[in-house]
């Protein structure tokens, strides 16, 4: 009884210890930096697996605080992993660089079990900083993107309030949310998250591929919008600032706005159609849509327009696939039941046969042993 108590006590202590280890499986470290900058300085960002957030302030300083988290089931490995994760940062002239990196690539090969790591980088910067940013596997939230900035986000979303003139934004496999943007060049490809460009103005070049997106076009003075294999809402809440010329090739155009457009067929088959809105301006928004659905509307689409893009469709497609392969039918069919019956009978027969054979061997061996006289 006493032994049993000791055993359970030991068991409890072990469980508690394991729990403690599990709690200590996650380790963190913090890296900070601060650089004095002038107005119009550059910030070069190159991050992977980092959530990057910028907050603007009135100081002429760029400061950052990066919290790095590493987690695995092996505490020693977690320590190694955490030690290998770095944030390299420096200043050269007007450019401050912040870069996430592995310190020792040799350690990568010793990955055991479930592991994960991530950065949370908070940057404090003055307004007017020119970004040259590449953010992968993480979101980038920044209040203002200054003129001539270049921002590239992959596998994450770019969320910004105000993008100044001539900035170039590229987003792939993520989302893009902009409240105001002037004279932009935007490439949006394979968007998997909400993508809205509000209050686009000036001379704009917007390329959208394989994405669902909404673009407010009222204040575009001159622009090229290229849409490929996408669903796009062109939103206008008032009269356009320029003419609109939309050519839809192998696609659908739906106008629910207050604007009256003229329609003309460009080819004989009616596969390419041109829609025009003329308001007497010399400039125009030239929109080329191929294999796409374009909505001209006074309102932004519902949230479901962005979220339901792939998932529902793919679920349906998967069902289609299953139906086409007719797995369910086959499993329910008599031939499948017969096959299973045969397999079952063969297995039982084989087992019986082997059991009988083994019995015979056993009897014979027993008899032999009885007959045998040992010296």
């Amino acid at each position: 009884m006493k032994n049993n108590k000791s055993f359970f006590l030991l068991l409890l202590v072990s469980i508690f210890s394991l729990n403690l280890f599990a709690q200590t499986g996650k380790l963190t470290k913090t890296i900070e930096g601060s650089y004095n900058v002038k107005s119009g300085s550059n910030l070069k960002l190159s991050t992977s697996f980092a959530q990057v957030e910028v907050e603007e302030w009135s100081k002429n300083t760029i400061e950052f605080k990066a919290v790095i988290e590493a987690e695995s089931s092996d505490k020693k490995f977690t320590e190694k992993l955490l030690n290998s994760l770095e944030v390299k940062h420096n200043q050269e002239g007007n450019t401050v660089s912040i870069e996430t990196a592995f310190a020792n690539s040799n350690q990568k090969n010793s990955i055991k079990g479930k592991t994960s790591f991530g950065y949370k980088i908070k940057i404090f910067a003055p307004k007017g900083i020119i970004y040259n940013a590449s953010v992968k596997f993480g979101n980038f939230k920044v209040p203002t993107i200054a003129s001539e900035s270049k921002v590239n986000v992959e596998f994450g979303s770019l969320v910004t309030n105000d993008v100044k003139k001539n900035a170039k934004l590229t987003v792939k496999f993520g989302g893009l949310q902009v409240n105001k943007i002037e004279d932009p060049t935007v490439d949006l490809e394979f968007a998997s998250d909400k993508s809205v460009l509000k209050a686009v103005s000036g001379k704009s070049t917007i390329n959208i591929r394989y994405s669902n997106a909404a673009v407010e076009i009222s204040d575009i003075s001159e622009g090229n919008i290229n849409i490929n294999f996408s669903k796009v809402y062109l939103v206008t809440n008032k009269n356009l600032n320029s003419n609109l010329n939309l050519v839809s090739k192998f696609g659908i155009f739906n106008n629910s706005s207050n604007l009256n457009l003229t329609i003309s067929n460009i080819d004989r088959n009616g596969q390419t159609k041109q829609y025009e809105y003329l308001n007497g301006k010399k400039v125009q928004i030239k929109t080329n849509a191929e294999f796409s659905t374009v909505f001209l509307s006074n309102e932004y689409p519902n949230e479901s327009f962005f979220k339901s893009k792939d998932k529902n469709k793919l679920d349906a497609n998967f069902s289609d696939l299953m139906n086409s392969l007719k797995f369910d039918e086959y499993i329910a069919s008599e031939s499948f039941k017969d096959l299973m019956q045969n397999v079952q009978e063969s297995t039982i027969k084989a087992l019986e046969s082997s059991m009988n054979a083994l019995k015979d061997v056993h009897i014979k061996l027993k008899e032999d042993l009885q007959r045998t006289t040992f010296p």
Binding site: Y210, F250, F291, L314, A357
Partner: protein, 188 residues
């Protein structure tokens, strides 16, 4: 008087009748055969001769069982876990592996469909292939990172999303080509 044969015969019958019990006792079939058997030198059977037929049966039964199990395994494992992404996916969450298998199957099926009808719009097919190649290159790149990068779950999710996109892209391309094909038929 002793030479009379009839008399002799009668006496013999009388003798047999009187000693019938002892005869049966001395010459019972069991005893006789036991004695005969003892005199016959039985040939010595080797282990092989003795057990070979039985062992053959056992071996046949085992082979049959293994073959049955193999067939059963083949029926049940539509997709064997051989790729790195599936191994890692199973390590993290079997649902990830299921999704990879599902979407890979879907992509392969759609690619086959697209190939079959590509003759009706070869130029389109060529252009469409470039888009798909782009996604496939991203997939390959993600996959190559999966082995060395400790942040495997994020990469797995990106891989699954990529496959979903490939499937979606193929669906759209298929729809376009089917539409073109239908229109050309209508024209004819």
């Amino acid at each position: 008087m002793h030479n009379d044969p009839k008399e002799k015969n009668d006496r013999l019958i009388q003798f047999i009748d009187q000693h019938q019990d002892s005869f049966e006792e001395d010459f019972s079939s069991d005893k006789v055969w036991n004695k005969i058997e003892a005199t016959i030198s039985t040939p010595h059977k080797s282990f092989k001769q003795r057990y070979l037929p039985i062992l053959t049966k056992v071996a046949a039964a085992i082979i049959l069982m293994i073959a049955g199990a193999g067939i059963w395994g083949l029926i049940n494992s539509k997709s064997q876990v051989t790729d790195i992404e599936l191994k890692v996916a199973n390590q993290y969450n079997p649902e990830y592996a299921d999704q990879i298998i599902k979407f890979t199957g879907l992509v392969e099926q759609r690619q086959e469909e697209l190939k079959k009808i590509s003759y009706s719009a070869p130029n389109f097919y060529q252009n469409f292939s470039k888009d798909l190649d782009e996604l496939e290159n991203v997939y390959t790149n993600l996959k190559s990172n999966l082995y060395n990068n400790p942040n495997r779950e994020d990469l797995l999710i990106a891989l699954i999303e990529n496959l979903e996109m490939q499937a979606d892209v193929l669906n759209q391309q298929l729809a376009v080509i089917k539409n073109l094909k239908q229109r050309s038929h209508e024209k004819q």
